[in-house]
Amino acid sequence: MDLSNEQALSRKRLNWVAGGILLGLLNTFAVATYGALGASRNYVVVDGFIARLLGSDISTANSYLSQMPSQADWLLMVGLGMIVGGFLAALATGTLNMRSVPRLWISRFGDSKPKRFASAFAGGFLLLLGARVAGGCTSGHVLSGVAQLSIAGFLFGAAIFASGIPTAKLLYRKKES
């Protein structure tokens, strides 16, 4: 995809003010109907489902997995909906993007697929390990937690930027300027 296409694509985006207000309203709707938005718990639930399908008993024997629901609940459907919502929004606006390596990544690390897939996998591993140690992620602890004025949410929000910013700066250090 060339640069002019990229710019046209980003110009088609929803601006941050409208997006922010819409997401705030959606979070209000969620809390008014069933509960606060969250994403990271679903990974543990799906791990339990996969274990059960494979005939493993760890979904009941493991002290953490056994605390998770063994059937689809409201929050799991939110996670499934996010995949569908991303697909539908991209389809409706002609922004479906089957690329393997992001453009910014190529500009710094080259276009090797295995290299990018390894970083994406390792990043995902750390994301969910950290989120589950903390008991929530950007959605549960910050979007929902801070909005509900939870002190844990403020602490988690500070911690993710405290390591995320230096890590990103380190990954993209030097190189022209």
Binding site: S107, L129, A152, A168
Partner: protein, 218 residues
């Protein structure tokens, strides 16, 4: 992939009847509301560009704060909305327990994964839906990371979760002030802060050669 996910969910549901850990219920209405809420959540994140590696990494590099402004504004608008609902009716508010070690350590680990993948646990799902192949690897890595936590939980809990654990703590209780007042002040502070960030971004743009990088959409 989506069909497979549903099949897994249904197959797993048939084998169990317990109610442990359920969030928001498992009835038909809860399932439909969850799906619709998730679709709207995913669509908003996709339309704003929050499921873009370039937008997230450029935010963490402090080169383009669009997603930070979007997200902070969403927190503020949500806070005001939630406590307005709470003031006039029933809101399903759930405050997470505050345990200093695990939340700090978990957050620091999360931040490294965030910068490395360019996604969050939620935005990786959205990006996967958009067709981005690397996001599917982040989701797989996430499943492995969550499983690793589950398998080590008996060691992690006494080390990081049980000590310095103050239970659910929210700001209004600690301050002894009405929640709606705290939410209103937080929202006002956030609005002023994102307006400041926006002004900062606008005064920076023409003077740097970084504007190209800010349009990175993938």
């Amino acid at each position: 992939m989506i069909l497979g996910f549903l099949t897994i969910a249904q197959a797993a549901g048939e084998t169990a009847n317990d109610t442990v850990g359920i969030v928001g219920g498992t009835g038909a209405r809860a399932i439909i509301f969850g799906l619709v809420t998730g679709i709207a959540f995913g669509a908003i994140l996709q339309r704003v560009g929050a499921s873009s590696y370039g937008m997230i990494v450029n935010m963490l590099r402090l080169k383009d704060l669009t997603i930070m402004k979007f997200f902070f504004l969403a927190v503020g608008a949500g806070s005001l909305g939630i406590y307005l609902v709470d003031a006039v009716g029933t809101a399903h508010i759930g405050i997470a327990p505050l345990y200093l070690l695990g939340i700090t350590a978990g957050g620091l680990i999360f931040g490294v994964g965030w910068a490395l993948s360019g996604y969050c646990p939620g935005t990786s799902l959205v990006a996967m839906g958009e067709g981005k192949v690397d996001a599917a690897f982040t989701v797989l890595g996430g499943l492995a990371g969550a499983l690793t936590l589950a398998l080590t939980w008996d060691w992690i809990k006494p080390a990081l979760v049980d000590p310095l654990n103050y239970g659910p703590k929210n700001l209004p209780d600690v301050l002894g002030v009405k929640p709606l007042l705290v939410a209103t002040v937080l929202t006002a502070v956030i609005v002023i802060f994102v307006m400041y960030l926006d002004r900062l971004g606008k005064s920076h743009k023409p003077t740097t050669g970084e504007t190209r990088g800010t349009t990175a959409s993938s």
